[in-house]
Symmetry: C2
Amino acid sequence: MACGEFSLIARYFDRVSSSRRDVETGIGDDCALLTIAEKQVLAISTDTLVSGIHFLPDIDPRDLGYKALAVNLSDLAAMGADPAWLTLAITLPEVDESWLEAFSDSLFEQLDYYDMQLIGGDTTRGPLAMTLGIHGLVPAGRALKRSGARPGDWIYVTGTPGDSAAGLAILQDRLAVKEATHSAYLKKRHLRPTPRILHGQALRDLASSAIDLSDGLISDLGHILKASECGARIDLDALPYSTALKENVSAERALQWALSGGEDYELCFTVPEMNRGALDVAIGNLGIPFTCIGQVGPESEGLQFLQNGKPVTLDLKGYDHFAPL
Amino acid sequence: MACGEFSLIARYFDRVSSSRRDVETGIGDDCALLTIAEKQVLAISTDTLVSGIHFLPDIDPRDLGYKALAVNLSDLAAMGADPAWLTLAITLPEVDESWLEAFSDSLFEQLDYYDMQLIGGDTTRGPLAMTLGIHGLVPAGRALKRSGARPGDWIYVTGTPGDSAAGLAILQDRLAVKEATHSAYLKKRHLRPTPRILHGQALRDLASSAIDLSDGLISDLGHILKASECGARIDLDALPYSTALKENVSAERALQWALSGGEDYELCFTVPEMNRGALDVAIGNLGIPFTCIGQVGPESEGLQFLQNGKPVTLDLKGYDHFAPL
């Protein structure tokens, strides 16, 4: 029988370390077979990561194994879904066993952490890239959609957006950060973003809409506003910054990265006035800051920015793979 | 807001031509949301197609749109599943609008034909490649697995394996076929293989195991035998050939391509003796020949080939992306 490809897959990806009860058939047949509990809705998302575009070509395979999954988990978090199954289609230029071992060890460590199971995939030869298909479950009727924001709702963001862009700049020698702890923190925010799964689950009955910050706050909040047919006012003075970011870049650069740096994988969500108290209780103990940065308005007002209480005009674009640079 | 990538996706892939009732949220949120009927099991498969490896770089985008889906549907067919949803992650070297229009038109034509819905995906810049995630539904307990073959079961194959390899050889100028109808037929079997969805559905209660022929009969039957812990005897004289193949290549070449040419996307399946009569009724009216080519035996006998009633030794390998050529 065929040997090379299949033994490669078998060795690194056909692990049974985590075995979920809802997986009737996992890797090894034409399809995986999955059962879904009553009153659960299936949430599916797909992301592709291409070497040189979505990650640096010399990235540590352990960081890549972590980030590839984290980026996809972030989409589940934004829907308030519980992680369940992963498919991994990976294209490799060559069979590098030490690379594969480091990558797959890191991936499975994260799969185990989230009680997820790898249920299938494909391995092909070609330029390094991968497409992950992530599957989660959410109680019927309780998913967090982009379309539920209403005028008057308050706009929140978790964590401190902009850190990931700073971390990337350090990795690419575009930014020098003297203090080692600051440098390590910012790089980690880029290489190992935390998917806000717990926040998503806690927000199910509290937030009116949610999205994760992959392209940048302006671009991603824009998706909420478009889907909800709303406008918004953002108070730029309220944007939360990490100490590491504040102390190492100008205020202008920090603002630019917070609004359009991308890859923070924090959640941006809207909460009706009547749920603000419950919100503080529900996510206040999760150990991550969350900050009110503005308010949803009518669609006719568009997206407005305030600084020192006055409207300002910004010329910032969200990160876009096909946009002219 | 971001413009290039998102308007590109919106224009070519965000169509609502088919709208399934089980799709609560399709394209346009962080995840798609899907509902699954009671007593249905979810079947999931993933395939990557890379330019120059899985399809010729100069392939007509309409053929590519067809084949990318057909190859994935074939995995559902092999499980006896009903097609439901597709995710498409596509990597493009450039935005070529006429290419995108032809590719997506062809893809959606097939999606509509199978009452499927595109529920998500990703578009990135890079060397031409795509990963499809296909989702189907099968009544609980009735999926066709690879592991159910038992000694004594009869081995069948649909259609005429080997045609796809001949079609590829014509397209690559390695084979000259004078008669235009033969040439067109063989090329079509390579470019536009028919996923045997109807056969898979009809086989649910009749076949003890099934697989689709993507790598070649030897390799793929081998997967059934390994999963079922069985051996088999194949009568090489029983292998079905198309007229187009028989009349244009040597008997030896026809045999080689039928056994290891790959990409036929026919079904190979096993049927217990007691179901053979019902089989003739169930798939006899589907218009595609199906042929008994051998019998499952005990694992200790391995995979044996008979020619003129006598055992013969073959040195053929299944198609393997990473195997040395």
